[in-house]
């Protein structure tokens, strides 16, 4: 590959001039400019961004650490991050913690030693070691979707979450409005704020409606298909099963759909189900899933926007964004008409 030196020689100018032409950091005479341009194209010059980064201390690269890639929701977020990164002139190094906090930490170490300019962290949710590490290294971070526990919420770092509590309220109120009273809840991992907050919304709505919370109707999943399936079976096996379900993410909701189907129940005739996320699949499940939509790609886009602005000014105060959610009514819910089949 041709180096900047080759270009300079060929154009008959100094290396620094070439550099300035490339970066537009200096006024250059028209003629020089053209000579340099010509030399660059003639030699197919491609700057070595490694060298550039070493010198300028900026890599134009962001690290993204995801908890796992099993959830299409994260894929969406990643998509948003990548796209926004591209628009801002940043590349993205992907890390997948594989739900293992140790691997999460190991990855962060590598990302930082590769000198990423900043990190988008979707925490595994297990302890705050990752965050502590990043803080210790004074790395620009933005936390997305969840924090590893409320203790970390007050950290002086940027966060982009969604209105989880409001989403839980929205879903539950909707089911209440349809006349349901025995409303079950399939939660996610309890230490994830994203799940915990949704359940809080669920409780809140129930209490405000004067229905009260039946703790035995809340069963914990882990945000994966399978657990939604199992949790739903468990709920349906109860002596008096719920007539509606608020499931804390779509993946589990689809699992629940499947379990209901297998149990010989029709959705929504026999049981209503509302999910959370609005992943692409939600509009193509059978029946199509009513769900609380959160703007996954925008989550990634906002995260990058915050991160990039912080890179410009490290002194900015910590910002905490909550992106709005809304209920998408599809075909998985129906007015309660009294218990017939159960």
């Amino acid at each position: 590959m041709a180096t900047i030196r080759d270009v300079a020689e060929r154009a008959g100018v100094s290396v620094s001039t070439v550099s300035h032409v490339i970066n537009g950091t200096r006024r250059v005479s028209r003629e020089t400019q053209e000579r340099v341009q010509a030399a660059m194209t003639a030699l197919h010059y491609q700057p070595n961004r490694l060298a550039r980064s070493l010198r300028s201390r900026r890599t134009q690269t962001l690290g993204v650490l995801l908890p796992n890639s099993a959830n299409p929701f994260f894929a969406q977020v990643l998509l948003g991050i990548e796209a926004a990164g591209y628009d801002h002139g940043y590349n993205v190094i992907l890390g997948n913690a594989n739900d293992d906090p140790r691997r999460e930490l190991a990855y962060l170490d590598i990302l930082l030693s590769k000198q990423v300019d900043g990190v988008v962290l979707v925490s595994t949710g297990a302890y705050g070691a990752a965050l502590d590490f990043l803080m210790a290294h004074d790395a620009p971070v933005v936390m997305v979707d969840r924090s590893p526990g409320e203790a970390y919420d007050s950290f002086q770092i940027d966060t982009v979450f969604v209105e989880n509590t409001r989403g839980g309220v929205l879903a539950t109120e909707y089911l209440l409005r349809l006349g349901h009273r025995a409303i079950g809840c399939i939660s996610g991992p309890s230490l994830l704020t994203s799940s915990a907050e949704r359940v809080i919304g669920y409780r809140q709505a129930l209490i405000e409606a004067g229905v009260g919370v039946d703790e035995t109707l809340i069963v914990a999943g882990d945000f994966q298909h399978e657990s939604g399936y199992r949790a739903c079976r468990e709920l349906l096996a109860r002596p008096s099963p719920p007539t509606a379900l608020f499931v804390c993410n779509d993946l589990m909701a689809v699992g629940a759909l499947c379990a209901a189907h297998e149990a010989g129940l029709r959705v929504p005739e026999d049981i209503s189900i509302v999910g959370f996320d609005d992943i692409p699949l939600a509009s193509f499940s059978v029946p199509r899933l009513t769900t609380v939509a959160q703007p996954a790609r925008q989550l990634g886009a906002r995260a990058v926007a915050l991160l990039v602005s912080r890179l410009k000014d490290r002194q900015l105060p910590a910002r905490h964004e909550r992106l709005p959610v809304h209920l998408v009514e599809r075909d998985s819910c129906q007015r309660y008409k009294g218990r017939e089949l159960l």
Copy 2:
């Protein structure tokens, strides 16, 4: 951050010694070794991999270029790449061409100038510009899942595809064995080899069974949900609609499921559907989808393995792998019992 120089000073040895201790490239006395180790931990030394890469001309970073992120199948492949990369000591810079060949090219340019050691390319399928570019730059590449047209198959580059044709045969023979004769096909984009080959398998099976190919029963989709939905509606609107469908990927198959459902048809009682991919969703659709499974994560893993081996020895001859597929029987197909409802 502490530099290697700081460590050397503190340990009272030369910089080169520290370097050799870190990389294990030299025999070092026990004592020196320990002193260096101690200094490193005391200073929380973290090597600057940028500098290392600049000097050693290896970044331990691979570029991955995906055509888009809308398809969970690619997310799976990416997962496999990331995991295998991690195991081999490589990081992954993600690029998303967004189905735009120009962006694909722009991305490759950036990836190369960031000095990635190699590129995993899942082509957008539009022309071979990306490949040409990579060849011109003499970059190690492995092409995954598809090539941008058969003309490029003979290129001297490593490829990891799956047995698409065999998959098409498998699916179609299965439907034939169930007694179906009017078997429709929803294909992907025609210029993608992955789609084209599957359709070839479909034709092949039909011809070998003496059934013959009804061209009007083949309709093209684009590998997205929506197009499967539309294609299925189109097929069902025919005067004599097919009793079974081979759909070239699961995303479209789920769309087809949805269309069939909306048309008042039961799957599999009224129409049988078999997909291709076996994405996670396939086991949770209603009904669960019978499909030709391809090892998505392994595709990524093999790609990385080939790429890494090539990085070790650039002279290796081009290798072409075809990973096996197999039929996963679930609940979306049934023996043909004569046309009742249609």
